[in-house]
């Protein structure tokens, strides 16, 4: 299990040239299916044309570096989610966590994800760990999760 908080700022290496390309500055999370996962990484220091790396091109994500399979596979924002991350709308860490019943559950302190598949395992807020599959959307106001309490949120 990997921590998103630890991932941010980690150096990104090009596997073919064994050179650092940049650092991880954010992640794009795709919530369009029940299988919530990291779709791409946003890089700082790699230039506008090499700002994003699809998770499919990440060959490894370890404690010391994220390795991608070639700088040629990096690209400028090309999806709505990537554009929204660039504007700060879909940043997860520190975002208000809101249940779809309209109750705040703190802020997103960290996100546990699978370092191989990029699957979001848990959102960590206060002392709660909320299953990643409950994440419905991330936007400017909040990260919205399906209410984890059967029969409604407690008062």
């Amino acid at each position: 299990m990997s921590s998103l908080r630890n991932l941010i700022g980690r150096k990104v290496m090009d596997r073919g040239r064994a050179e650092q390309i940049g650092k991880v500055s954010g992640v794009v999370v795709d919530t369009s299916s029940g299988d919530v996962r990291i779709a791409s990484l946003r890089l700082s220091g790699a230039g506008d044309e090499h700002e994003f790396a699809d998770w499919d091109h990440v060959t490894g994500s370890g404690e010391d570096a994220v390795v991608v399979d070639g700088v040629d596979n990096l690209h400028p924002p090309r999806t709505t989610l990537e554009e929204r991350l660039k504007s700060g709308d879909t940043e997860l860490l520190g975002k208000r966590l809101l249940s779809d019943h309209g109750n705040e559950m703190g802020k997103v302190d960290d996100v546990d994800f699978d370092g191989t598949s990029g699957r979001i395992e848990h959102l960590v807020a206060r002392n709660d760990r909320i299953e990643g599959s409950r994440l419905r959307s991330v936007g400017p106001y909040a990260a919205i999760v399906t209410c984890p309490h059967e029969g409604g949120c407690p008062g």
Partner: protein, 194 residues
């Protein structure tokens, strides 16, 4: 137990669209439909730089969740133009508000007048009772604000809201004990709201 809120507490809550996870409006006012004695919908305010009345309304049926922090909708598509809309028309008719209406028991006592509406949060939310200013018919509670549960069916007119005399036995003084009162009252009546 689900969270209970006064309708007046719903005012100022943000309206959050789930699809874009953004706050797209603030609740300006709660619009009651006197014929049914329930909430029909909400008028809205714009947020931020363009703050002020929004020319759109939200229907109660389009609310997917209501909590202490936000009123949830699936998307901004459900915000309807104010003009020629049922909720917009009702909002313009202030005299149709349930607030101030007399509450009569079917035993013939005037129990008080409505000061607020009690909503049980959830998805979807539900109107479960009224806050009323108790009349002299309610003895020691006279003059105080108390909570009276709503039956599954309710007779209303422009003049009064009619509740079963049995409701009087389930009056609560605060929201803390009111959820249980509603459940017990409805259980005794042998029905639940759809």
């Amino acid at each position: 137990m689900s969270l209970l809120l006064r309708a007046s507490e719903i005012m100022k809550l943000p309206v959050v669209a789930i699809d874009c996870a953004d706050a797209v409006a603030d609740v300006k006012d709660v619009v009651f439909g006197a014929q049914e004695g329930e909430i029909f919908g909400f008028t809205l305010n714009n947020r931020g730089f363009f703050a002020g009345p929004m020319k759109r309304v939200l229907h109660w049926d389009d609310v997917t969740g209501l909590g202490r922090d936000a009123l949830m909708v699936e998307s901004t598509d459900v915000l309807r133009p104010l003009k020629n809309d049922e909720v917009g028309d009702l909002a313009a008719q202030k005299d149709r508000s349930v607030i101030g209406s007399d509450v009569l028991s079917d035993g013939g006592s005037r129990l008080g007048s409505v000061t607020d509406v009690i909503v049980m949060c959830g998805a979807p939310p539900e109107v479960v009772g009224y806050e009323i200013e108790a009349s002299e018919a309610m003895g020691p509670r006279s003059g105080k604000k108390v909570l009276i549960p709503l039956p599954d069916t309710l007779s209303v007119s422009g003049q009064a809201l009619m509740v079963p005399a049995a409701a009087e036995a389930f009056v609560a003084d605060d929201l803390a004990g009111f959820g249980a009162s509603v459940e017990e009252f409805r259980s005794q009546l042998g029905g639940t709201r759809p």
